[in-house]
Amino acid sequence: MGELLEARNLTKLYGVIIGVNDVNLDLQPGVIGLLGPNGAGKSTFLKLVTGQLRPTEGQVSVLGQNPWSNVQLFNRIGLCPEQDSFYDNMSALEFVTSLARLSGMGQEAQDRAEQALARVSATEFMHRSIGEYSKGMRQRTKIAQAIVHDPDFLILDEPLTGTDPICRREIMDLVTELGAEGKSILVASHVLHEVQAMTDQFVLIFGGRILAAGKVQEIRGLMNEFPHRISLRCSDPKKLAGALIRDLPIDGVEIDQEREEVMVLTKDPGEFYAGLSQVVLATGLSVRELTSADDKLEAVFNYLMAAS
């Protein structure tokens, strides 16, 4: 099997807004996570990959073919789009059967639709209209239509959004299973640990650029090189900042007098958190609020962006 996906100077502009910026990427077949915060360009990238958008510059090829204006490629690609939209008066079975027919199936369309729906545990509700479904049921339906024609390359855009833990588990298992069957899968998500459970191959995208691509270990290492941001709020941020700098491993401090906030940068969050309570107690100040900005993927990506 050749290359799964190849992008060369791939750029997409919407007017003056940059959707995807000069992306160069080579992906081999397998299960790959496309990780980036909301608005990072994931969806634009996937639309370019699935031929829904035409590149402003550069090119992309999927399974060795240019996806733009190439409807035959969709025999081999399955897409679970991000948007939670359906023909609400149809049932899941009707919906998936219709799309199976559009994939060129004849008599077997309904059987194949039933199989696909069974695979995502949707058999129970597949005769009810989609309008009545929960978010999880809708996600399952969306995945069923993406796999009904048994594509070689499955693209899932935020497949876990709004799902409950059981559904989440099942979808993750399905992805792993399909991967084991030899399918290539590109899973887009803005939540690191979700994707981590399905694959250790990652592509990080932010600001329309590919920041890194490779194994998760490499990326984690990369992330560790950048300081974590921790914000503390108390009545005397200057005094607190002084104490923190003196006693804890800190790489930088920003003080916002007005908001009564200290923003700490540290490369060693473990030791920082371990010693923090002692230091705060010693100052006699009371810290009202402590938040780690690093919980947000976006913050991490901002670091990576600055570094690249």
Partner: protein, 356 residues
């Protein structure tokens, strides 16, 4: 293409859009019913009947069965309505007639009581007007037919303005323009455009779905309105109105579908402006431009089938093309629209706004 067709049919007949269609198609029937029951139509009929009597009489047509009535030395014989003689005027159906107009001979049964002359309102026999034998023929039915034609014209103009010119345009405005917009707004286009389906099949399937979904209800609505009008004009009238109504949804939907692909999010406004400026205003401008409008050819077809003699100078406004040419012109309009829509569908980017 079959599946897209089926889906479109289901969307129109199964979804919320069916109510819109029901409304569009029941309104004209209600309007016609209202006009008929409010007496508007019977008033027209009575006027026309009286006109028939006078015209026949003016030609000196006296059926053998009629009786001569003399008043102030002049012959008066009337049919249909009520004739009342006063000292110096003749009231016919309550309307005062001049002496000259009253100096006529008609046909009918007369009853004279207490110095008043009453005419039995027996209607003259109706006959289909035909151009070959009609207006130039003399005889008892010549004027009847002439007026009958006038009445048919009034009704066919009414039905034409109601259906091809308004309702069909409106239906196309709702359905044709929204073929793509609906899938874009509903964010469902992705499912269809990421399938191995040639885009022209998408266009064709959607288009045929609309036409088929609309054709039967539209036919029923036109028939209902026609029956309410008393099934006037026979097959030529209803046949031509049905034909142009169907031709109208076929043509307008194709044009508006193209609008949908040209400017998906503003298609409805563009189609509305087109409808008002092109199909209403420009179509009456006798300067070639009206020959670019759909209405012009629809009118040509109606006047052709009903064999209305349209004076040359008016035919440039109303529509003076032959039926085959008109059908060909519509076919060309439809083909070009669908072809362009298919090209756009294959070449243009259709951006679905992201969830975020």
């Amino acid at each position: 293409m079959g599946e897209i067709f089926r889906m479109q049919l289901g969307q129109i007949l199964g979804g919320r859009m069916k109510w819109l269609m029901l409304l569009c198609l029941s309104l004209p029937v209600l309007l016609t019913f209202g006009a008929v029951s409010a007496g508007g139509v019977s008033e027209i009929k009575r006027e026309i009947d009286s006109e028939i009597i006078f015209r026949n009489a003016r030609r000196g047509i006296v059926p053998e069965t009629s009786e001569q009535v003399l008043w102030k030395g002049e012959d008066l014989s009337f049919l249909g309505g009520q004739l009342k003689l006063t000292e110096d005027a003749i009231l016919w159906s309550g309307r005062e007639m001049s002496n000259r107009r009253a100096t006529v001979i008609g046909e009918g049964n007369f009853i004279i009581t207490d110095g008043e002359l009453w005419i039995d309102p027996t209607k003259p026999q109706r006959k289909r007007y035909s151009r070959q034998s009609g207006s130039r023929r003399s005889g008892p039915d010549a004027a009847t037919e002439e007026i009958q034609l006038g009445m048919e014209l009034i009704y066919s103009i009414y039905l034409f303005l109601l259906y091809p010119q308004t309702i069909c345009l409106l239906l196309a405005l709702f359905y044709g323009t929204s073929v793509l917009g609906q899938e874009l707004d509903g964010k469902t286009l992705t499912y269809l455009f990421t399938r191995p389906l040639a885009r022209w099949k998408f266009v064709a399937g959607k288009y045929l779905g609309i036409i088929v979904a609309l054709a039967i209800p539209l036919t029923l609505s036109v028939l209902a309105s026609w029956l309410l009008l008393g099934a006037v004009g026979g097959m030529a009238l209803i046949g031509s109105i049905l034909l142009v109504s169907l031709a109208a949804i076929i043509a307008y939907n194709a044009i508006f579908l193209l609008f949908g692909f040209l400017i998906p999010r503003r298609a409805m406004i563009a189609a509305l402006l087109y409808g008002v400026f092109f199909e209403f205003i420009l179509s009456f401008v006798p300067a070639m431009v009206n020959q670019l409008t759909v209405t012009y050819y629809l009118r040509s077809i109606v006047t052709g089938i009903m064999q209305v003699e349209v004076p040359r100078e008016i035919s440039r406004i109303v529509g003076g093309s032959s039926i085959p040419f008109s059908l060909l012109a519509l076919l060309i309009i439809v083909s070009i629209s669908l072809l362009l829509a298919s090209i756009l569908a294959a070449r243009k980017e259709f951006v679905i706004k992201d969830e975020a």
